[in-house]
């Protein structure tokens, strides 16, 4: 059996809950975030941003700003290399011919202080030709809508959509018309969601320093510093190796820090001035000019028999992802029906352009929106047919051997055990009071693997340094230390895991796709195994016996073969201490394209109360059940599950981008972009199921993203039951709910 395949085993470190090694630094302020880096001679940079939703840039006059004492350089898109495969990302960083949205950067100033730089912004004269704009998906898709970018119409887009439609996809199998013909009841509805921001607490921040030899260093908060390096080096026409990127601690990302916004601009300014340049976004800039997730408008049609069997499912998904094409329709269409075992299913996606910032990934990108629509219709079918919503889901649940709605046949998956656990959970049978409702929903997400490289050194005292290349956004350093400790048979405290810069390891894929604990964990285990093989070899040399006669157990090499003779076990401390004399430093390392990430399901139960006079919703009780494969550090698995639920609660109830008729964003701050505060939330209960992933030695599945998929429908279904009206648009703000209550008459 290959080492990376799962084998059942007992664990000593994995599954415990030690304190994370970065925790004390974070609570005492010692940890360095993006804005905490400084260098002598450093300049401060700020961006000039378009006040228009859509405008041609006829000219930019920087002369007066450049004449201001303290101003050292100004850059525009003309300073970048052009015509490469990351052009749209670059154009989002600095507008090329047109300002595409309110807040789009058109120039940036580096000066001796931020105050001088801000003063200089007012001296830059931009001659704009204001163009018609469109910020909402419903207008964008209609013929006659203002066209955001000419020539971007997707080849396969249905004819009735405007030229803002850039892409079309379709998945599914079977004959849905035949399926609908077999249904006793068909429900068809349209659902809308607003774009929502990832809401990370730390704004984007970086420090760039380009040397006179063209070699550069960049410190920034990011989910993937290798990705930052690759994107920036293309835009600046540099060798990848010439740019070393160091990831800071990160104050949240949730997908929004998987690309670049200010980093290439700071590098350009540093290149131009020969001095280090620091650039930090304000909160207003984060909302206006980083990437929220797509807004959506989805038609769903599902047929069901009286006894709860789904006969056919159809979804037509429309996503709006800002001013450049995006591919989020793909996972949106793939995930819509992924929880179901269906004979006939079809899901389509169409992407539309609008004058908004380019969407960025947000936790299971694309899945929450389409799942919300499907799970709402399933709930309504159950309600009309008088079926228990969990029983009906169990009747249709995907399982091992199901041909999924997106194509492949499932291996071991955990949906049925999750639904059974949800049904048996005391929450599901707890009584409800007046004006209260309960909602449930399934959710599905793929998990990824990807390029991964780690290095693990046995130090002279037997302690261990593990070097990985993925920014730690959810406790992954702790999880890696635990897996290394488990494999080596040493205490967790003996392993220190650090996130190295791009010059210290081979390429590591971004921290996204719920990949890190799976993929970096896999590489860590293999690196530790390589170190163990080497340590056994060293012990064998000392004992003068064949290496095959030595095995590793509980932190020590042991002579185990028939003719090995009697030898005291040689501990990791002894082997580390003698390593110089037995052949030099001992390092295990592993580089891989990690494959075999198992898919993941979640089931959420939500109870809430709606004030019938104000439309105010109080979430009373919330339970998340999710398949984690194997929970390495259960605290951080629970944290991911709770965090996903909380972001989903915000999305469902209050979060939205509000644009005025002028195309400008009206709520670019946490005051009016309402993420939940702690007192808005009940304790989020968690139930971790462990259905091992066959593709990981410890059975790990990704857990980071699935938790945000079910909440939208779980909460919408609960509100619908509480008020007796089916809700079909998010956010379900108090006024929308009150309006719905009045509409039932």
């Amino acid at each position: 059996m290959a080492l990376d395949e799962y084998s059942k085993r007992e664990f000593t470190v994995v599954g415990t809950r030690p304190v994370r090694q970065d925790g004390i630094d974070k609570v005492t302020g010692r940890a360095q975030y993006g804005a905490d880096f400084s260098l002598p001679g450093m300049l401060h940079a700020v961006a000039l941003r378009s006040p228009h939703a859509h405008a041609r840039i006829k000219s930019i006059d920087t002369s007066a700003a450049l004449a201001l004492p303290g101003v050292k350089a100004i850059v525009t898109s003309a300073d970048f290399a052009t015509n490469h495969d990351v052009q749209s990302v670059q154009d989002h960083c600095l507008a090329r011919d047109k300002a595409m949205y309110d807040g789009h950067a058109v120039a940036a100033v580096a000066a001796t202080s931020a105050a001088v730089a801000r003063k200089a912004l007012k001296l830059i004269k931009v001659d704009y030709e204001i163009l018609p704009h469109v910020t909402d998906i419903e207008t964008s898709m209609k013929p006659g809508a203002p066209i955001v970018q000419e020539g971007r119409r997707g080849r396969k887009v249905p004819a009735h959509y405007s030229d803002n439609a850039t892409g079309f996809c379709e998945f599914g199998h079977g004959d849905i018309e035949a399926g609908f013909a077999k249904a006793d009841l068909i429900v068809e509805r349209t659902f809308k969601t607003s774009s929502t921001h990832q809401g990370y607490v730390e704004p984007h921040a970086c420090l760039a320093s380009v040397g006179n030899d063209g070699r550069a260093d960049l410190w920034c908060c990011t989910q993937g510093h290798f990705q930052v390096r690759n994107l920036c080096s293309k835009m600046l026409n540099m060798d990848q190796s010439a740019l070393r990127v160091t990831a800071s601690e990160i104050g949240g990302g949730f997908g929004g820090k998987t690309t670049v916004f200010i980093e290439p601009v700071a590098l350009l300014l540093s290149q131009k001035t020969g001095r280090p340049v620091k650039m930090v976004m304000t909160r207003d800039e984060v909302f206006k000019a980083s990437g929220p997730t797509v807004a959506s408008m989805t038609d769903v049609k599902i047929g069901m028999t009286k006894d709860g069997r789904i006969t056919a499912g159809y979804a037509h998904i429309r996503y709006e992802g800002g001013a450049w094409p995006s591919d989020t329709i793909y996972p949106g269409a793939q995930c819509a029906f992924a929880s179901y075992d269906l004979e006939a299913v079809k899901s389509q996606g169409v992407n539309f352009l609008t004058n908004r910032p380019l969407q960025a990934a947000y936790r299971a990108p694309g899945s929450p929106q389409s799942t919300y629509a499907v799970e709402s219709v399933v709930d309504e079918l159950c309600q009309i047919l008088g079926l228990d919503p969990i029983d009906a889901r169990l009747k249709n649940a995907a399982k091992k051997g199901t041909k999924s709605s997106y194509g492949p046949t499932y291996d071991e998956i955990g949906l049925i055990p999750l639904l059974e656990a949800a049904k048996a959970h005391p929450h599901y049978s707890a009584p409800l009071g007046p004006n209260q409702g309960r909602g449930i929903s399934n959710g599905f997400w793929f998990n990824f693997g990807g390029e991964t490289a780690v290095s693990l050194a046995i130090d002279f005292d037997g302690s261990v340094t593990l070097v990985e290349g993925n920014p730690d956004i959810g406790g992954s350093r702790a999880a890696m230390s635990m897996m290394a400790a488990e494999e080596l048979g040493i205490p967790y405290e003996k392993v220190r895991t650090i996130v190295a810069d791009t010059a210290s390891l081979g390429h590591n894929e971004v921290t996204h796709g719920s990949r890190v604990t799976f993929a970096v964990g896999l590489a860590t285990i293999k690196a530790a195994r390589a170190a163990k093989v080497e340590m056994c070899r060293r012990a064998a040399m000392v004992w003068g016996i064949p290496a095959e006669a030595v095995e590793w157990e509980n932190g020590a090499a042991r002579a185990m073969g028939h003719n090995a003779g009697e030898h005291e076990p040689m501990t990791i401390e002894q082997i580390g201490a003698n390593s110089s004399k037995t052949g030099g430093p001992i390092v295990g390392h592993h580089e891989t394209m990690a494959e075999g990430a198992g898919v993941s399901f979640g089931v959420h139960i939500c109870d809430l109360h709606v004030d019938p006079e104000t439309g105010y919703t109080t979430v009373l009780r919330y339970t998340v059940l999710q398949d984690a494969g194997k929970a390495i550090h259960p605290d951080y698995v629970e944290g991911q599950m709770q965090g996903g639920a909380v972001q989903g609660i915000g999305w469902a109830l209050n979060e939205e981008y509000i644009y005025g008729k002028d195309g400008r964003l009206q709520n670019a701050g946490f005051l009016d972009y309402r993420i939940p505060v702690a007192s808005d939330l009940p304790k989020i209960d968690t139930v971790i199921l462990e259905i091992p992933n066959p593709g990981h030695p410890y059975g790990v599945r990704g857990v980071g993203e699935t938790g945000i998929v079910p909440p939208l429908a779980a909460i919408s279904n609960a509100v619908s039951h509480a008020i007796g009206v089916r809700m079909s648009e998010l956010p379900m703000s108090p006024q929308r709910i009150l309006h719905a209550i009045h509409s039932k008459g």
Binding site: E170, F171, Y330, Y362
Partner: protein, 81 residues
């Protein structure tokens, strides 16, 4: 021969066929054969695709073996959050 499932919106490149047969024994051979037999798929494949082989999703990995009885499903390249 290996049977490859093509997602819906690519089927105009395969004369509407949801499944096509190609002669291949690895990930990369599947892609090369698809491009050779169905040139309409080339643009999408060059933009990037994933492939599910017997239920496991591979992003790249050219030399992953594909058996004649393997379930092979072409999938879009994916990003996560």
């Amino acid at each position: 021969m290996v049977t490859v499932t093509i997602w819906g919106s690519l089927r105009d490149a395969t004369d509407g066929a949801a499944e096509v047969e190609v002669n291949a024994s690895t990930f990369i051979e599947v892609l090369n054969a698809l491009k050779a037999n169905y040139p309409g798929l080339t643009a999408q494949i060059d933009r990037g695709v994933s492939m599910s082989i017997d239920g496991l999703i591979y992003k790249d990995s050219w030399f992953t073996p594909v058996r004649p009885d393997s379930e092979v499903v072409l999938m879009p390249l994916m990003v996560g959050g």
